[in-house]
Symmetry: none
Subunit: 124 residues, 4 copies
């Protein structure tokens, strides 16, 4: 279910947050779905439980998941909506940033190639 690159510059916990967000975005994780427990998933991925705890805490603080003591951790009801709202805000920032870069003389091709490299990595 998860794919960790231990040699990446991006921290393991951030990779996990990223992947959960993606799974929610594409509907693979739906509201009410349980996330694997910290101990079992940490064992399965051979990572430190604290690392996973940090990832889960971040998801909680984003309002994407919710820990129910004694029961487990679940995708929150409005997780997809929160992601969409966040995406809308970020899309706006994206436009502003691209506009600013264009005005500072950055070429269209340069920005396209960045986009390509980011999406190719995922499609692999």
């Amino acid at each position: 279910m998860f794919n960790i690159d231990r040699f990446s510059a991006v921290p393991v916990y951030a990779q996990l947050v990223e992947q959960v967000r993606h799974l929610i975005a594409v509907g693979a994780l739906a509201p009410g779905d349980a996330l694997p427990s910290v101990r079992t998933l940490a064992a399965q991925l051979s990572i430190n439980p604290n690392t996973l705890q940090k990832a889960y805490s971040e998801l909680d603080s984003m309002g994407l998941s919710c820990a129910v003591p004694g029961s487990g951790r679940f995708i929150s009801q409005d997780a997809a909506q929160r992601l969409k709202n966040a995406a809308a805000r970020d899309l706006d920032d994206f436009k502003k940033l691209a506009l600013s870069l264009r005005d500072m003389g950055v070429e269209h091709e340069q920005l396209q190639s960045i986009l390509n490299s980011i999406y190719e990595r995922r499609e692999q």
Copy 2:
């Protein structure tokens, strides 16, 4: 020399900042060049001098121009270098933002079309 769209959602003063930054980036405004005076350019563009003053002040605070009271306002010596540095920082933000958007389920095509619209507008 300048082109204001009064019906745009982006504030007039921001359009002006944007255009001066672009003129510096492409070398049309070189270090030491004088910017048109607040009053004359405001009259020419049919905008309020205060609006232009705000745009110019922003350029000053970016270190791109330098006001000499009683004399005029001039492009600073390291204006182009400052722009390049700012562009490098913004390119980094651009990558992070695009990565985040990808993970939130935004499609490659959507970001590309935003980029296209931004660059086409300029090329017109």
Copy 3:
């Protein structure tokens, strides 16, 4: 809370920026605290809202405060840290400037008296 000297040579908006910075530095304004709204404080101080807006915008651009349209304006989380960093940079400039003044023949006493006058004013 604020104290404006209308007859001072230093602009009203600059006095306001100065005082907010001081309140942050001494901890009287903590991260997350709301600043008085533009209209209410302007009315209270009997100054034009635009003047206060200018002061607040400057604080925003320094990263000390953050405006949330429709909600209010708040002291940013890292405001105190930013002030400390700025103080470190300015201390360095202070040394260089004092060195330069010494070499141009300015007496020790003259600089001391400037310092005294600045700090006495505050202590009153």
Copy 4:
């Protein structure tokens, strides 16, 4: 006449500029006085002539000295006045900087000790 510290962090040419400015300020170098030629002074101080050339060029560009090809380099007529003007401007900056430092929470004693260390060094 000159005193170079080769192990100082401040560049040799800057030390020279500093010392000439000081000599002008205290009247040890008067308008019309000749500066030692690049070659002789460089030999005397055991520094590279290019270093001295750089110092002299800087003094020229400040309007403090003036090179007369084939004849030598002389303290300009208005050197002292220029220094006074520069000092006046810098004194103003000094006040502003000190004010800003005070508002950012820097203590009076800290600034005084910086001043003391700078002036003691000279008096030694």
